[in-house]
């Protein structure tokens, strides 16, 4: 009954294939542009495969100092941010997964409340400035170190671990820190990998914090650099791109930049994909 081939079934597969293609097309378009020759791009013959194949756009983009600088900045922020975020999230999730910790509900409430209400843009901006993080790389990860959603996912996971192991270790005289490091963490590697990837992707992609807090061009992150290169450094710039005069960079060069800055995401995506479905599901059952 399940595997009979019917017209409906064929149409379904065809429609899904079309949808998948629509989803993929922009990526192919980017790659096609980045590998195409100048004339092919100018005459608009490029669709989803390269014309007059050339690597010149990549040679040019990888020869730019600013690209390497922002790549380094983004890698630094992503690594430092992911490390800090993971440490804080794990600590919070572990501590607040202990059911008879006095004050657990109050402390959890303090954290969950920030999901629904916050100071908003300017008050946060003033605090970040006030603690001396303005125009430092720290501003890009310290103020957003704990994602409450990730905290919930992690806590739900810790709660699902059998408490007998922990109790046994406690009876043997292990401290809570030892229990966390030697028992909980080894059992939690998949969830740590998942949450770590979530954080890493967020840091890699984040651009608004950099727009807010970074002024020195030598501290630009990749996303901020990308924006200033692609949109000419001006906020209201998509309109300018409609004009001929503002072709700051050739389209191939722009798309090569896009490809280079997206590559790391595509590289980690298979791992990411392995776990995120579970993460999303656990998170949606918050308690």
């Amino acid at each position: 009954m399940k595997n009979k081939i019917t017209a409906g079934r064929v149409i379904n597969v065809l429609l899904l294939t079309a949808l998948t293609f629509i989803c993929l097309y922009p990526f192919l378009n980017v790659l096609a542009y980045s590998f195409s020759g100048y004339n092919a791009v100018l005459t608009g013959n490029v669709t989803f495969y390269p014309k007059d194949f050339t690597l010149s756009a990549y040679q040019e983009i990888l020869g730019k100092k600013q690209i390497w600088q922002s790549m380094r900045t983004t890698v630094t922020v992503t690594l430092a941010g992911t490390a800090l975020s993971l440490v804080l999230t794990i600590i919070a999730a572990y501590a607040l997964s202990i059911t008879d910790l006095p004050g657990r509900k109050l402390l959890t409430g303090i954290i969950l409340f920030t999901m629904y209400f916050g100071g908003g843009l300017i008050p946060t901006f003033l605090v970040v400035k006030g603690v001396g993080l303005y125009d430092t790389l720290g501003a890009l990860f310290i103020p957003s170190a704990v994602n409450v959603f990730n905290f919930i996912v992690m806590r739900t996971f810790f709660r699902s671990l059998p408490s007998s192991l922990e109790e046994a270790a406690r009876i043997d005289g292990a401290s809570y820190l030892q229990v966390l490091v030697h028992i909980i963490l080894p059992l939690s590697l998949p969830i740590i990998a998942t949450i770590g990837l979530f954080y890493a992707v967020d840091y890699w992609n984040s651009y608004f914090n950099a727009l807010l807090y970074i002024v020195s061009p030598e501290k630009y992150t990749l996303q901020l650099r990308l924006r200033s290169l692609l949109f000419g450094g001006e906020l209201n710039s998509t309109a300018n791109l409609e004009g001929v005069g503002s072709m700051v960079m050739s389209q191939s060069l722009k798309m090569a930049t896009v490809a280079v800055s997206t590559l790391p995401i595509l590289v980690v995506y298979p791992w990411l994909q392995k776990y995120f479905v579970k993460g999303v599901m656990v998170g949606s059952v918050k308690g």
Binding site: M1, N3, G8, N12, L16, T17, L19, I22, C23, N29, V30, G44, L88, I91, A92, A95, D100, L101, P102, G103, R104, K105, L106, G109, Y116, F117, G118, G119, G120, L121, I122, P123, T124, V127, V128, I142, P143, A145, V146, S175, V201, W204, N205, Y207, Q223, R227, L230, F231, N236, S237, T238, A239, L241, E242, Q251, K254, V258, T262, V277, M281
Partner: protein
């Protein structure tokens, strides 16, 4: 909440209080570990909440938050009198509503379509590709959108011209800009949105399908009478959840896709707050708008939660 309850409860007898103290002592290292976490929330989440008072002050950078004079609701009167503010609210609603109107039924349809696929391998490939755009940054998505949709040299307009049509101002006319905004949002998030429905669909009782099959129900009838009712509650909760987010809008997409020509439709609450606060340095006004939005959000969310519970679903808070 419970710590209050606890400590009050144990206050009645000395031994209970002693027990709680013992427990706290027992967990002292846990509290020590929590210090950096609480410090983080105090500094970056709760201190800004105190900063909200500048919405009721005439904030002066040199006088600081405490030194600036109180002005009561004068700032709010000022923003409410500004038509740009109401435009940004209208635009937020319009963009959110249109996106929801298209993406909500589409997400469910795509989930059902994926669920019908029998070939596991094909299903997995489709899912992997559809989820991918969710992980791409808005800067990248916006640059792809501009590359494809711009009037001069955009891929799509070149195609239209080749087919004999005249070019379409996807990014510079109000109506088309809204179309482009909604389309790019849907492109980015549709796959991601299916996850929750697909999970719900795997939970549908297989025996119901078999019973329906034996009763002679066609594939389509099974979809309408078995599948949809089984995931009805997920659909309802998701709809309530999304409606409760009507006043919230991400800043990245409107800021990166928007431009001066379409400001009339692209300026939303978040971009307005940003422009007021950061570009024009009107700190009090920007904070007041942010506060207004937060309060409205909390109210909508609470109402939605009540509503969800009233119709017999789980709450959303």
């Amino acid at each position: 909440m419970s710590i209050v309850g606890n400590s009050m409860g144990v206050g009645r007898s000395g031994t209970d209080r002693h027990k709680t103290m013992m427990r706290i002592r027992n967990y002292r290292w846990i509290y020590v570990m929590l210090v950096p976490v609480l410090l983080y929330f105090a500094v970056f989440k709760y201190a800004p909440m105190y900063g909200i008072v500048i919405a009721f002050k005439n904030y002066n950078v040199f006088k600081g938050i405490t030194g600036s004079p109180w002005v009561g609701l004068a700032v709010f009167r000022k923003i409410f009198a500004n038509s740009n503010f109401w435009h940004s609210i209208r635009n937020t609603f319009v963009l959110n509503l249109l996106t929801l109107a298209v993406s909500f039924p589409l997400t469910i349809t795509v989930s059902l379509m994926i669920n019908e696929v029998a070939n596991r391998y094909f299903k997995k490939v489709v899912q992997s590709i559809l989820y991918l755009p969710h992980f791409i940054s808005w800067v990248v998505v916006a640059s792809i959108v501009v590359n494809m949709f711009s009037q001069n040299g955009g891929t799509i307009n070149l195609m239209i011209q080749k087919l004999g049509g005249s070019s379409v101002p996807f990014l510079s006319s109000n109506g088309w800009w809204i179309f482009t905004y909604v389309a790019s949002n849907i492109w980015k998030e549709i796959g991601w949105g299916t996850i929750i429905y697909l999970a719900a669909l795997t939970g549908v009782d297989e025996s119901l399908y078999e019973a329906a099959y034996l009763d002679g129900a066609t594939r389509f009838q099974r979809l309408i009478y078995v599948t949809l009712p089984s995931i009805k509650s997920v659909i309802v909760v998701m709809l309530i959840l999304q409606i409760s987010k009507m006043m919230t809008i991400g800043l990245d997409a409107p800021l990166l896709l928007g431009n001066k020509k379409v400001m009339e439709v692209s300026e939303v609450i978040s971009t307005y707050t940003y422009r007021m606060g950061i570009e024009q340095a009107k700190y009090s006004e920007s904070t007041a708008i942010g506060l207004f939005q937060s309060v409205v959000n909390v109210v909508i969310l609470a109402a939605a939660d009540r509503f969800a519970k009233a119709i017999g679903e789980d709450g959303i808070l």
